[in-house]
Subunit: 82 residues, 2 copies
């Protein structure tokens, strides 16, 4: 099954990359841009068909390796889950 994990910096954590992009877009004439935040999107293909167990396993992967839970939030999407 396909799983999407979105990882973004927690509210209040400095995001220099987002800031740089925001400034660059303004400089390029996109003056309507107010704020930019950059996160990661990780697409996983996993050999598991039970959505509940899948979600639990992927949460453990996030806590162990994929995200730095001190400064990052993650959320898990399972597109095939009804």
């Amino acid at each position: 099954m396909q799983v999407i994990v979105n990882i973004s910096l927690k509210e209040g954590v400095l995001d220099p990359q987002g800031r740089a992009i925001s400034h660059s877009l303004n400089d390029l004439g996109f003056n309507e841009v107010i704020n930019v935040k950059v996160g990661k999107q990780i697409l996983l293909e996993i050999d598991e068909n039970d959505p509940a167990r899948l979600r639990q396993r992927v949460a453990r992967m996030c806590e162990t390796l994929l995200s730095n839970t001190v400064i990052e939030d993650y959320w898990i999407e399972i597109p095939d889950e009804q």
Copy 2:
């Protein structure tokens, strides 16, 4: 308005970061992981209320700065769009 831009490597482009994550997860005992792809998720806050024009402007930002269209695909989500 909030806009989300998801950027991922095109099919067939080598993804060493995804590969490294996949191997690490397997090594940690997550043997159900078959494949991992890593992309970016950019959240933009934009001073524009017309969804059609917003989408057009953000597409231009993607082509100009946000994505490398030679090796990356992007897709635009507008959560508030009905």
